[in-house]
Symmetry: C2
Subunit: 346 residues, 2 copies
C-alpha cells in the first residue's frame, strides 16, 4: 500500500478515516516478550546499531498488538554520540560518559553528516520497511534540542536537571550555541530518516515542561521551531510532542499555524477538550491516555478509551496514543484490549 | 508587633502595603553558612527534632537576608512518621524505610494526635517566636496528601513516582483510604501549628502536577480542598502551592473562591500575567522567580526582579518568592541582592 493512503497518514493530514488509528509511544519495549529475549543478549546501544535486530524489535508491536504504525527502535542519544560525545550504557539506561561542563566542550562538538555517522538508523528504517511490507507506515523520530541538551549537560535523566536549568540563567549564550548545534544536527538527522523512507517523524521534547515560562519559549519552543521549519516541504507529516506543556498550548498553536505543522501529541496532563478548543482545525492531535491507565482493570480501561474517543468524535485528525511512553511492566493483554476497543468502534 | 499588622500578613489579606513583602521557599537551607555548620553535626531529622537548633536555623535568613517572614525548619515526612511509618536519613535526604505496598499497611496507619506525636514541631514554632521577638511572622507548613502519598508509596523522591501513579488506576480505593488518613493527619497537624503560634501556613503539593488531568482533580486538588476546608476559621491565612499546576489555574481558582483561601503560590512555569487574569482579586499571589535565576549575573537578576514586581504593580496582595525552593549551591549574595532590590522599590 502507498503509505499516503494509510490510516495514520490520512489522520495526520486530517483527511477522513474509517476509524481512529492507534500506536503507542515506546511500543517496542521491555513489556514485550520478544524484545526482552533480544535485549537479554545485548545492551540498548548495541541493539540500536544492529539493523537486523532493531527492525525485528520495531515490528513486534505490529504482530502482537495490531497497531496502525511502527516507530523505529532507537535511542534519543544517537545524534549526541555522532556530535562527538561519549555515550555509555549505565544502570538506568544509556547516559553520557563525559557530560559537557563549559564552552570549550560545546565548541568542540561537530554537526555530523547523518548518513556517515548514523547510517545504521537509516538501515533500521529500510530493514523495517522490508519487514512490514507496506502494511503500515514507519515512523522516524528524534529528541528535541532542550531534551538532548539536558542529557549533554546532566549525563543521565535527573529529577531536576539542575545543571541544564542553571545554564539557562548563568551562561545563556553558551547554551544557545549548544542548542543551535544540536538543532542543526537533528534537522539533518530527521531529513536523512525521511530520505531513507520514514513516512512521518516525531520530535520529542520530553523535558520542555520543566523550564520556567520565559525559558520555555526561548529554549524549548524556539529550537523545536528551528527543526520543524527545516523539515518544511520534506514531504512527510511532522508530529511535535512537548511533555509538560499543557499551559503553553496557545504558544504552540501559534507556531503550528505559522509553520503548518501537521500534528501535536498531547501529554496526559492536558485536557483533550481544551486542546481541541485551542488547536481547533489547525492540526491533528495525538494522545493522550495516561500510561499508568494501562494497569487499570480491563473494563475500566476500555471505558477510559471510549471516553477519550468520544471527545474527538466528529473531529477528523485524532490519533490514539498515550500521554507518554509505555511503562516496562505494563501487561501486554491490556495494551491489546485498547487496540481491540478502538478497532471495534470502526 | 502584632503580626496581623506585618507586611506579609497584610499582603496575604490583600490589604495595602508600603512595599512587596519577600521570603523564599527553603530559605533555611544548605546555601547558608550557619545552616551548614549546624548540619555538619547532626542529620536532617535530628535537626527537625531539636527545637533549639531548628529555631536557630529558622531565623538565620532573617539575620542574613532581612526577609519579611521566617518559615519553620522541618521536614515534610514528619507527619508520616507520626502515622506509624519508618523514616530514615538516606543518601539523598530523608526517605521511608519501609514504603507501603498494599491495603494492609494503609489500614495499620493511625491518625495521630499532633501534639503528642509531633510536639517538637510546635516547640520549634514557640522557640522561633522567642528568637524573632515580633519582628516578622512565623510560617508553618505541611506537605499535601498526594505528595506525602508519593513518599509513602515510593520511599524516596523519584522522577516518575511510578508506584503512586500506578495505584491511581490499579487500586484507587486503597489510594483514597491512604489520602483520607493523610489529609486528616495533616489538618490536625496544621491546626496544632496555628495553636502553637504559626501566623500563616503553607500547604505544599510539590508533585501534584505529575498527575493526569482527571487524576489531578481527584487526588491532588480534592485533598488539598479537604485540608483547606478543615482550616477554615483557624484565624491565619492559608497559602496553597501546587507545583506543576499551571494548566489547572481555573480549577484552583474555583476552589479558592469557594473556600475563601487567602493565597496561592505560583511555580515558575506559570505566567504571572495569566495568573493575575484568572485569580483577579480572589486571593493574594505569591511567587514566582525561577530558583535557577539566582545564578544569573546580578544585574540580570535585578532586572528580572523588577520585571516581576512590575507585573503586580497596582495589584495589592503580591508576595515575592521563588517558583520552588532555593537550590543548595545558590550564592547568598545574589539572594541578598533580590531582597535589596525589593526593599529599594518601597
Amino acid at each position: 500500500m502507498n503509505q499516503q493512503d494509510s490510516l495514520l497518514i490520512r489522520a495526520l493530514r486530517r483527511q477522513p478515516t474509517e476509524r481512529t488509528p492507534v500506536w503507542f509511544m515506546r511500543q517496542a519495549g521491555r513489556y514485550l516478550p520478544g524484545y526482552q529475549k533480544i535485549r537479554s543478549g545485548l545492551d540498548f546501544l548495541e541493539l540500536c546499531k544492529n539493523p537486523e535486530l532493531a527492525s525485528e524489535v520495531t515490528v513486534e508491536p505490529l504482530e502482537v498488538l495490531d497497531v496502525d504504525a511502527v516507530i523505529i527502535f532507537s535511542d534519543i542519544l544517537v545524534p549526541l554520540e555522532a556530535m562527538g560525545m561519549g555515550v555509555e550504557f549505565g544502570d538506568r539506561g544509556p547516559c553520557m560518559s563525559d557530560p559537557l561542563t563549559g564552552r570549550d566542550g560545546i565548541e568542540r562538538l561537530c554537526i555530523p553528516d547523518p548518513v556517515e555517522s548514523t547510517g545504521f538508523v537509516m538501515d533500521v528504517i529500510r530493514a523495517t520497511h522490508a519487514r512490514v511490507d507496506g502494511k503500515v507506515p514507519v515512523l522516524g523520530f528524534a529528541g528535541a534540542p532542550w531534551t538532548l541538551a539536558c542529557y549533554a549537560l546532566e549525563g543521565s535523566p535527573s529529577r531536576t536537571f539542575a545543571a541544564a536549568q542553571r545554564m539557562v540563567y548563568e551562561s545563556p549564550s553558551d547554551l544557545h550555541l549548544l542548542m543551535e548545534k544540536i538543532a542543526d544536527t537533528v534537522t539533518a538527522y530527521l531529513l536523512a530518516q525521511v530520505e531513507a523512507g520514514a513516512n512521518a517523524i516525531q520530535l520529542f521534547d520530553s523535558w520542555g515542561g520543566m523550564l520556567g515560562h520565559q525559558a520555555f519559549e526561548e529554549f524549548s519552543l524556539a529550537y523545536c521551531r528551528r527543526i520543524l521549519e527545516g523539515l518544511d516541504g520534506c514531504g512527510v507529516p511532522r508530529i511535535l510532542f512537548i511533555r509538560g506543556a499543557a499551559s503553553h498550548l496557545h504558544a504552540i498553536a501559534s507556531m503550528v499555524d505559522e509553520l503548518g505543522v501537521e500534528a501535536v501529541s498531547l501529554d496526559e496532563m492536558t485536557r483533550p477538550q481544551h486542546a481541541l478548543e485551542i488547536f481547533g482545525h489547525r492540526c491533528a492531535l495525538q494522545g493522550n491516555l495516561p500510561p499508568q491507565a494501562l494497569f487499570a482493570p480491563v473494563d475500566d480501561l476500555r471505558s477510559r478509551v471510549c471516553d477519550l474517543l468520544d471527545v474527538f468524535t466528529d473531529h477528523p485528525g485524532h490519533i490514539f496514543n498515550l500521554g507518554h511512553g509505555i511503562l516496562p511492566t505494563t501487561p501486554v493483554e491490556n495494551v491489546r484490549a485498547v487496540v481491540d476497543e478502538i478497532r471495534a468502534r470502526s
